[in-house]
Amino acid sequence: MWEKLLNYWSQSAPLLPEAIAFYILATIAILFGFLVVANPFSRAPINSGLSLLCTILSLAGMAILLRAYFLAAILVIIYGGAVVVLFLFVLMLSRKDFKIVFAPTRIRFAIGMIITILFAMIIVPIAIQIPVSTAVSDSVPIEGTVSAIGTLLLTKYIIPFEAISILLLSAIIGVVYLSKPETKGKSK
């Protein structure tokens, strides 16, 4: 009996563990995603920040299951290593008694529902189209996903890529302008 089980496992080794891993990661992602916005145990903002980190890590885990290693690494480096660290940085600077107030009024609920429906209208059609258990990097050349993503970014998606970089540049200029100390009425 054991031999049969081991044989089955060694033959279909990539299948069963992957499915288990996916369900674990999906549960973690949804659970912590919920805790980011509505934590019933604690209103401390730092808990929301760390829940966001857990969500991002489990999303990176799902990217690994799809064999999109490059995407997983970038997800952790950019979002886990930089963006959420900055969030925590600001939250640690905030006052000790500062708490997130979770107070759903009717208007907020309505706005939330509208945004959710719009988002679902984008996501659901795409999700239905994709067949179950498709590995992202099966179709790309053997030299790895890095060069494939690079080629796509600089050929097919060059215009969105440049548009995003201009958006980020304008955001940086805006921040520099806003954080400049007031010099009105004073000669510098």
């Binding site: 060694s10 970038i74 930089a82 925590l88």
Partner: protein, 369 residues
């Protein structure tokens, strides 16, 4: 009787399925790598204390065992036997989890580092990932949470300042670190660490430090900053912060922060050796290519591992040496150096190598017609 058992063991080993074969050897490699890694962490502490002593004209710890070699045993026992005291007013969960978050990633880096060429048919790397180096960056970027959380959980002034300093510093120098090695990717044509070593052994004088010296310098500086070593040890500046983020910690939890610092120094050195000093290779006839599948080849495989360890220890020694030779930066100087000097330099370095490679690719086509 014994020969029969050996025969049956051999039979069993030869007949296990590929998956379990891989599983078994990966387990062995993980055990060996973590064991050697933690052993090096223990002795890096002794190395640091002895080198510091000699630089300051003292003797240092030389009582426990010959030349003080049993010092790590004493320190470890002391840490384990000390009372695990939790100060009042700390955030308990984060206080517990912070040392784990900081030590775990420092050891996880070991998974992608090729610490030797081959022994038999086994490649001496735990996981030969195609995005190997990016994996190390991803893991290293998680370790900053350990310091941030330790600072936050302690719920007192100095640790929180230490934690914030660590957060700002690591974000600033991560950018430089990532940008500094892009020329190596472009030259080697891969982010796989084994492929980068293969590129370095492909011709004489092909080591990364000769091909891209500025990258090596920037990466080394960023490694010092990421490991919170002098001259970038502001998160734990004893004189200003009473120890920084680990002020409220004691016993084994403090020891874990201590180990994490040395673990990240050793891993940083190992990555530096892999990227810029040819990894396990030496430019000599037998040692410059992966070992073959013979008894002689196995011996060469073991020599490769020793070469790798020797090179790593040399870089660790260099980092220790720097600590006792340089003063600490002021925080504004640190930010100025990171964002306004190293970052533009790293970008210029990338542009230079991109132009160089483009020129090498394009100029021969002019002469063809």
């Amino acid at each position: 009787m014994i020969t029969e058992q050996l025969y049956s063991l051999n039979n069993w080993l030869n007949n296990i399925p590929d998956f379990w074969w891989w599983f078994l050897f990966t387990l062995v490699k993980i055990g060996a790598a973590i064991g050697i890694g933690l052993g090096m962490v223990a002795y890096a502490v002794v190395l640091e204390r002895r080198v510091a002593s000699f630089i300051q004209d003292r003797l240092g710890p030389n009582r426990a065992g010959p030349w003080g070699l049993l010092q790590p045993v004493c320190d470890g026992l002391k840490s384990f036997l000390k009372e695990d005291f939790i100060p009042a007013g700390v955030h308990k969960f984060y206080y517990w989890i912070a040392p784990v978050i900081i030590l775990g990633p420092a050891l996880m880096t070991i998974a992608v580092i090729p610490f030797g060429s081959k022994i038999g048919n086994q490649s001496m790397v735990i996981s030969d990932l195609n995005v190997g180096l990016l994996y190390t960056f991803a893991v290293a970027s998680i370790s900053v949470y350990g310091i941030l959380l330790a600072g936050y959980a302690a719920n007192s002034k100095y640790p929180i300042i230490g934690g914030m300093r660590a957060g700002a510093q690591m974000i600033s120098y991560e950018g430089t670190m990532g940008l500094s090695i892009i020329p190596i990717f472009m030259l080697a044509g891969s982010t796989n660490l084994n492929a980068i070593i293969a590129w370095q052994t492909s011709a004489p004088l092909h080591w990364g430090i000769i091909q891209a010296p500025l990258s090596a310098l920037l990466f080394f500086i960023a490694t010092l900053a990421e490991a919170n070593r002098v001259p970038f040890d502001l998160p734990e500046a004893e004189q200003e912060l009473a120890g920084g983020y680990n002020t409220e910690y004691g016993a084994m939890k403090f020891a874990m922060f201590f180990m994490a610092e040395y673990a990240s120094v050793i891993m940083g050195s190992a990555i530096f050796v892999t990227l810029f000093l040819g990894g396990w290779s030496l430019p000599l006839p037998w040692l410059n290519s992966p070992a073959s599948n013979t008894w002689m080849g196995m011996l060469i495989g073991i020599i490769h591992i020793c070469i790798f360890l020797a090179k790593t220890i040399m870089i660790v020694f260099l980092i220790v040496w720097i600590r006792w030779m340089l003063p600490r930066f002021r925080f504004d100087q640190l930010m100025d150096l990171g964002w306004r000097k190293l970052m533009p330099l790293a970008l210029a370095n990338i542009a230079f190598y991109a132009l160089l490679l483009w020129a090498i690719a394009i100029i021969p086509t002019f002469f063809q017609n």
